[in-house]
């Protein structure tokens, strides 16, 4: 069966520090991968998606970036965090555009 792993679960980082969140998927090949951010009491905002190794599409201009170095690995990064980067970050995968997404357990990021 397919599983998705996302870590860390919580993270407190000072303003201006770098960020690296990792997501891996098991049990499937060539998944579509996504990074979403959810602000408190808000809907999910799509940040990046990838349909293959090295292929990254950005939805929201910001100081975040994403990379897909391997088929089932998706990384969210920042060189310098801002206070506004705080939120709940979710990684997800899907097999196709007409399938439900499977989400990871999320990372709660607090920038202080």
């Amino acid at each position: 069966s397919q599983t998705i792993h996302q870590w860390p679960a919580t993270l407190v980082q000072p303003v201006g520090s770098p960020l690296s969140l990792e997501c891996t998927v098991e049990g499937t090949s060539n998944p579509n991968l996504y990074w979403y951010r959810q602000a408190a009491g808000r809907g999910l905002q799509l940040l990046f998606y990838s349909v293959g190794i090295g292929q990254i599409s950005s939805e929201v201009p910001q100081n975040l970036s994403a990379s897909r170095p391997q088929d089932r690995q998706f990384i969210l990064s920042s060189k310098k965090l801002l206070l506004s980067d705080s939120g709940f970050y979710l990684c997800a995968w899907s097999g196709s555009t007409n399938y439900g997404y499977t989400f990871g357990s999320g990372t709660r990021l607090t920038v202080v």
Binding site: G43, L44, L46, S57, N98
Partner: protein, 111 residues
């Protein structure tokens, strides 16, 4: 761009009753409309997907309808239980890898 509105932020109902949630959207009808459940501090969990040419889809006590004329989907939880208490999100899939989510409706089922 698409605007997705879920009828209310919170819905409180008595156990055993039917909860009905509304999802309205603007502009073009999506190829697919999806519903998710999200518990506090957790990632959303996929529940149901309905295609634009389908009127209704059921899964156990859940039922989803899709009216492209009204640009609306209804999500029903029948015979509700306290364990159904959660936030329910609708999402529009335009068949372009960009699943767009509504803000969600928080359902509380009282015993």
């Amino acid at each position: 761009s698409q605007k997705i509105e879920q009828n209310s932020e919170a819905l409180n109902i008595q156990e055993g009753k039917t909860a009905t949630l509304t999802c309205n959207y603007t502009n073009y009808s999506p190829a697919y409309l999806q519903w998710y459940r999200q518990d506090p501090g957790r990632g959303p969990v996929f529940l149901l997907l309905i295609r634009e040419n389908e009127k209704e889809k059921r899964k156990e006590r859940l039922k989803v309808t899709f009216d492209t004329t009204l640009k609306q989907s209804l999500f029903h939880i029948t015979a509700s239980q306290p364990a159904d208490s959660a936030t329910y999100l609708c999402a529009l899939d335009m068949n372009d890898y960009k699943l767009s989510f509504g803000a969600g409706t928080t359902v509380t089922v009282r015993a």
